[in-house]
Symmetry: none
Subunit: 209 residues, 4 copies
DNA sequence: GATGAATGAGTATTCATTCAT
DNA sequence: TATGAATGAATACTCATTCAT
């Protein structure tokens, strides 16, 4: 392992350390109330150091989204890779995957929406932005593929698969956000799970022929 | 018209004038980036005047939600009042109502979520807060009633009507937020309408037996 | 009584009404925390009206001092007018008078000090300022006269009577302020009285030969 | 000298730099008219920096009092430590000490009174507040001790030593405030000194048997 | 005279970001 | 690289004062 590589690895470790701290602080206080000072303290670093790894506060926040999107893509592609599964089974597996994604980082949805705000987008580096867009595109595309197959096989109602994927994602987001905003999640995790299951069940019944 | 009454009316006109300006500015910049100075300028008033009509920035923002909630309740109750309509027809009418609500104020969903944040809630006057809670409660209750009837008549799948109402609302919110965040709305209003229709169609198929 | 005179009297009544309200509010909140709005409400008038009777907040505050100074002068001159009393008796009477002045308006001392601050003086009308100065001068002069007599008659130690008057006034002010600042006055009025008596006793013993 | 220690020292230097500037500005304009901006400019720092060293405006102001109280206590205790001196000599030494304290910081008295206002107290950190209270308590206690001895030895009139200490302090405060408020101090420092001396002389004669 | 709605200048405080060490 | 002290722009909110009615 060359010196260059070791440095690269060390640098990545630091980035992760900061992101872990940032996630905790942002979860706790939200984007606006969380200060860079808070995050630095949580990461046991100085504020200045944060800027060696992230261009600014927005980009640090956005990088959290990147991570979850990477996880989402892996899970969704994995669902699609099950060659033996039929569309209905894949839809079921997709729903399970979404729940795992949610558990991986319950903030995911809020991150997503913050991310899309125009004010935020202005402050991101083009590189990070294109990475995020690419990942989003791929994930949604992969979801749409499932619907495509279902429609092609006459198992699902004949609607535009991309629109179906959008709707599926929107339903998921909506439930998570709605219950989060009602502050039910932390206290009643089961209630969220049940509601998500109901939502998915209704959705599943709705897309089938 | 007494002098008292005229003053009252004038005062209400001012409140509306400020709310209209606030809505424009908040829509444009979001809650945090919008300054009271911005809003005052948009309303062609001085900053101090805003505080004669609204306790603080949070309460001004929240009052925008109040207005939309009032409209929502009226529409939803009207759907329920149609004695001749069967649950399926009511569900259809409810979906139309939601779309009107959305058109009345596309910010509605974002308002709703901002409103629920604990930081926000701390700054609201108890009176305003209870008004908002009451309106939310009534609206969701009214929606649940539609599902209740459907379930009772064996037309809808037998699930908890309140959970079905939650899911319905979450689906609506999710679609609006998702498309808003993708900045598609202004440019492609039709796409939102189509996606909402698809979402509602899928939902409708899903809740029916 | 002419119309002119009646108007004058009515105007004076209003001034008094405002001053009474102002005294209550200033006592309660201090000069800086008290708002003109507070005072207007206490006086059951509108803020604008206050400005018909007083040039500004400072002048309203200063006018309270004027009133107490008028009362002080009357009491002190009355002491001096007792032709039969000897200096020692007059000194005793003076001390009683000071206590009455204090009871007439416990804020007196704080008023006095606020009044003298240069920022305040800048905002007073020349007329009001000269009235205040004149009253102060007369009162202190009258007090000095008592000491003058005492010194002349060889009853008091031979010091400059004006300096003795200053010291007397300073002692009185100091005790009142000190105990006020220790928040003892409202709770333990007796303690103030006792301390004042002790202070006056010591002072009395100190000035006598 | 370790790096830690050097930093500590540097930090203390900054605090002093700010306090010196604050003292100048507060002396000039009084607490309310002085702005943090003014003080920052006087200290040749930015406003934000002030807040790195002092929690808020009130605490900056209060810290000025702390310094003078520390000096006061040292001087007063030093007087008490003179084992050979009799009460009369101690009283004389105490008066000299008070004058030095006054010269150390002529604002002392005004600080003291501002400090006691309830609004002020609310904004102070508990730690600073208890330091101040402790210092006040000790100083007054030390003064009272002098009187105690004098009374015990039959040299002073038999009055409560704590009340005598209060009166002594009040007399001192009163003279300083009175002359300050008459704006005589800067122009005629001698006059203050003479008046203080007279006041102390009268007091001294008054407490002796 | 009296009103009270409107004004808008004034300010303490915060915090993302920088840069000398 | 890492630090963390310093920056200074940004902003919600207050309130003495005015003036059209």
């Amino acid at each position: 392992m060359g010196i260059q590589e070791r440095k690269e690895r060390e640098k990545e470790r630091r980035r992760q350390q900061i992101m872990v701290a940032a996630k905790r602080v942002f979860s706790d206080k939200g984007f606006n109330k969380a200060t860079m000072e808070d995050i630095a303290q949580e990461a046991e670093l100085s504020p200045g150091t944060l800027y060696l790894y992230f261009k600014n506060k927005e980009e640090l926040y956005a990088s959290l989204s990147l991570r979850i999107l990477q996880y989402l893509l892996i899970r969704v592609e994995h669902v699609n890779d099950e060659k033996d599964a039929n569309p209905e089974e894949k839809l079921k597996a997709l729903m399970d995957a979404m729940y795992d994604v949610y558990e991986f980082d319950p903030l995911i949805i809020i991150n997503m929406f913050h991310l899309q705000s125009s004010e935020t987008l202005k402050n991101l580096s083009p590189q990070l932005m294109s990475e995020i867009k690419e990942l989003s595109r791929k994930s949604l595309g992969s979801i749409a593929e499932i619907f495509q197959t279902g429609v092609d096989q006459g198992l699902f109602v004949d609607r535009h698969p991309v629109a179906m994927a959008d709707t599926f994602w929107a339903l998921f987001s909506g439930v998570v956000l709605w219950l989060t905003s009602k502050r039910l999640i932390n206290q009643e995790k089961d209630y969220l799970k049940q509601t998500l299951e109901l939502a998915f069940e209704i959705f599943g019944r709705g897309v089938k022929k």
